[in-house]
């Protein structure tokens, strides 16, 4: 039986092009020098991002609690007719929002100081 000539294959033309791409890319990669930052830069970046992530989680949690409180007071007032309770909880919610606002403002100031130095 006659062996099949690989040049008969429809895909045969691809091989030299693929090889050329591989060789050229490999050589370009070998010659390309990269300025990799110091290990400290990566550690700082990781710590900063993790801190930001934790703060965001806390903020979301506080917001969730604040919204839950608003709904809870609404229900309490309408079911038990206790306006004093309503006022107390609204004040508490107001404090939570003020606290969040101050935290955010502090974070922005810290970030501005960090970027200017």
């Amino acid at each position: 039986m006659k062996n099949k000539d690989p040049r008969d294959s429809k895909e045969y033309w691809k091989k030299p092009i693929v090889e050329k791409i591989q060789n050229t890319t490999f050589q370009a990669d070998q010659k390309q020098s990269v300025d990799v930052p110091e290990r400290e830069w990566f550690e700082d970046l990781v710590r900063r991002e993790q801190k930001k992530h934790r703060q965001q989680l806390w903020k979301d949690l506080m917001l969730l609690w604040a919204i839950a409180l608003i709904i809870f007071t609404g229900l309490t007032v309408s079911v038990f007719l206790l306006p004093v309770f309503f006022i107390l909880v609204q004040v508490a919610v107001l404090f939570v929002f003020c606290f969040l606002y101050c935290q955010e403002k502090k974070r922005v100031t810290e970030h501005e100081q960090y970027t200017t130095t």
Partner: protein, 172 residues
């Protein structure tokens, strides 16, 4: 990179994560440079990739290589940037194009050869082609990375090779 370091990194250990990212930094930069042909953009996107990887490390599944996961993030960020550029045809874009032209003047011959070889391809063809024939990923893996069907990857790679072939014939 040993599996112990990677395991610690996925649990959020700052030192291990920093080590893993440092090891992959130049790999990602070189990949992005081949896609963007712009040093500054490649550098910015590499740093964005690092930040995104830190934010999403809890989503990394060890079934794929860490470098493949980073390539997926980098490619997504690149397409995001392209979409933004499309909607904002700004001065900044022209500036970048100009700096890109200047950059080519100072580049090594090898990189220019690669640019000459791939310049006719669109990113949608160039990325699967490089991932398949240089980085050695399977069609299925590339499909997962780029969130397209395996068949689409195959046809894009095929047409990319065909285009390069036609270009070479025309040059002769």
């Amino acid at each position: 990179m040993d599996s112990q370091t990677l395991k610690l990194a996925t649990r959020g250990d700052p030192r291990a994560l920093a080590m893993v990212l440092e090891e992959n930094y130049s790999f990602i930069y070189k990949y992005l440079l081949k896609i963007t042909w712009n040093e500054q953009t490649a550098m910015d996107l590499t740093q964005d990739t690092m930040v995104k990887a830190i934010q999403k490390i809890h989503l990394y599944k060890e079934k794929s290589k860490f470098s493949s996961w980073l390539i997926t993030i980098a490619t997504n960020l690149f397409f995001d940037l392209k979409r933004k550029e499309k909607t904002a045809n700004t001065y900044w874009e022209k500036e970048r194009a100009a700096s890109s032209d200047n950059w080519f003047v100072n580049q090594q011959e090898e990189l220019l050869d690669l640019y000459e070889l791939l310049k006719i391809l669109k990113e949608e063809q160039k990325i699967p082609l490089l991932l398949k024939h240089y980085y050695g990923y399977s069609y299925g893996e590339i499909g997962e990375m780029l969130q397209i069907k395996e068949g689409t990857v195959k046809s894009r790679v095929h047409y990319a090779l065909q285009m390069i072939r036609e270009e070479q014939i025309d040059e002769k």
